[in-house]
Symmetry: C2
Subunit: 434 residues, 2 copies
Amino acid sequence: MATRHRVVIIGSGFGGLFAAKALRKAPVDITLIARTTHHLFQPLLYQVATGILSQGEIAPATREVLRRQRNVEVLLGEVTGVDLATRTVTAQSPVATYTTPYDSLIVAAGSTQSYFGNDQFADHAPGMKSIDDALELRGRIFGAFELAELEDDPVKAARWLTFVVVGAGPTGVEMAGQISELSRRALPGDYRRIDPRDARIILIDGAPVVLPAFGSHLSEKARQRLEKIGVEVRLNTMVVGVDATGIEVKHADGSQERIESICKIWAAGVAAAPLGAQLARDAGAETNRAGQVLVNPDTTLPGHPEVFVIGDMMALDKLPGVAQVAIQSARHAAGQIKARLAGQETGQPFRYRDKGSMATISRFSAVVSIGKTNLSGFIAWLMWLAVHLLYLVGFKNRFTAIAHWAVSFIGRGRSERAATWQQVFARNALKKDD
Amino acid sequence: MATRHRVVIIGSGFGGLFAAKALRKAPVDITLIARTTHHLFQPLLYQVATGILSQGEIAPATREVLRRQRNVEVLLGEVTGVDLATRTVTAQSPVATYTTPYDSLIVAAGSTQSYFGNDQFADHAPGMKSIDDALELRGRIFGAFELAELEDDPVKAARWLTFVVVGAGPTGVEMAGQISELSRRALPGDYRRIDPRDARIILIDGAPVVLPAFGSHLSEKARQRLEKIGVEVRLNTMVVGVDATGIEVKHADGSQERIESICKIWAAGVAAAPLGAQLARDAGAETNRAGQVLVNPDTTLPGHPEVFVIGDMMALDKLPGVAQVAIQSARHAAGQIKARLAGQETGQPFRYRDKGSMATISRFSAVVSIGKTNLSGFIAWLMWLAVHLLYLVGFKNRFTAIAHWAVSFIGRGRSERAATWQQVFARNALKKDD
């Protein structure tokens, strides 16, 4: 029996998972290699960080999602290199290094948080890209209220109760909104010495608007709603320094200001996984400033029609780093592979169909932009709810997520506040002189 | 206004939480100090480790549970010392040390895993006492299957697929049973190279029976059931060595054997929190080999009628380290404080009412011992289900736990398999020569 066409997929995010699914009926053997064992529904990470959902609900095991698709195997591994000449991928497991050959390769390793060259910010302002990040932030956010409760000095208590979110894209807006909900709705009554409603939530962005991708009307609506629920929105404001107990910002007029805050969250920038730069270098291709690979219009790596670079890792038509771009480019790559195997013409450019954008600001309030239609408020929130339920992978995750949403949105509780000793104690330790 | 009687409670487990609740209507001001922010329902930790429940479901925030009880404040802190002379408790937060005075003190800091003097075992065979432990074990258990899938060498694959549980009390039995369910029911179909049903689950105990507290009839039933679901039960077997890739055991006849296994779980012994020994020393009291304080019959520290040592920390009438002992001794201590404040006679001995014991072995199968009544099988499992739902704290945890149980017991999935990169990658790394 001749060996079937071998497809290796790197990554288990929206790009990797949907590429595998799109090849379900193709005459190929697929190996999906990813550094985590789960598919992560990143748009809801902020709900794990703020205690609404459990990690399992947004992170089903990749192999479980694909268990019935017999032409795919899922391997744990961090891909450390791709040899374009011999067509092999080298990956590292916790115990060994292994090499897997491919005929076609789909690179969907996604993106990491970017601190724009200031990696030292990361220790003090964690990003929001993984379950580890979300659990770390859960420990820091709930821990901040715990430590404010213990603080006799009102100045020090205030800096525990000042939360700074950097970046006013969907992740930052949703995070700021949820911290506000926590402090205004979920936590009052739980404390005896502090009033959680005294918490300040500051949302910072260098741009002049929040949610720029949504257009000026919705941006303004979102800003108003954020301010109504108590979020201080600071636009045209650049972050120039971050340390254990505060953040330095620079205003448009050039003046600088220090904000005392211990719990800071970085939702400002992303960079493509480093594998992108490595591939581009080997192929003689280019990357942009975010480390994304300048791919051909059909999402292939220049000079390598057998290698597709998709989702957050590709630079193409200034497409945004959202789930739909990853999903659609994955389907495009899968379609190209199927066409090639069927002897059909390939090389068709990837065309992105914008299905719209949505972001929740607080419970019952969201903004939705679909083509020329702009919606905000409760109806938009219902649409957000429906779409997110639909895209949550797997029946059982939808089932339990609804239970958790009912607890938080109809009730005002948080089912998943539990932060461990490690997360609360170890992560909130300050040095003596802080 | 005179200061009210101040009660300090150390610990937020069954002892600490139920002591606080029992003082709900008492004319006292309570400060509950605990090193975690949650009340942990320890009997279900094994379900967090094996992907059935989320951590939030068994660990509601202590301050949320007590939010309506206005005479209690909850503080985060690890108690480092008690000054019996000045009647103060010193605790450490992540950032500072603080001191709290008491008129009455209830010490309910619980127990830690004990390796019987072999603390070096801990790195290779984690215990099951905290959410951190359960999440670590989740990463190791699911990680073992992932790494077996990557292993070409069948001998090395086999040691990933050999799970050793040390200790055949309820925790060990339930853990072994659940790993068996994972390998036999939940995971087959997810893998392409290995068959999870090949996993060996070995349950080891130095005693001649499993679940000795349940009596010989149920012990035998439980052993039969375990063997039926594929657990190898090795009794009269002592652990004499544990390393990264195996465990050394000694049989009753003196012969030794090495079992190759990477994922090992320690459910063998507990020791009282070290605070017990410190208190005993300061009070001139004694501790037993497990570090429990030999208390007076009324659970007070000898010479200190204002200090109660309860639950897992007290040595009294050879009571077992179970939730009911903690709950009932907490209520007794609270009752003594109330009686004293009311000017009534105190010093009544604590009388434990044995409400019975139960342990699940697999879905639909449990053993229940209540007085002279012994039950096993499905009816016993329904009783287990009812009691655990009843004791899970808080409506919303019951609500979502039912959803998760339905997924795992009616279905065969695991909602909470998600182990993070940290948990899977970092925890399963072996050294080069292993």
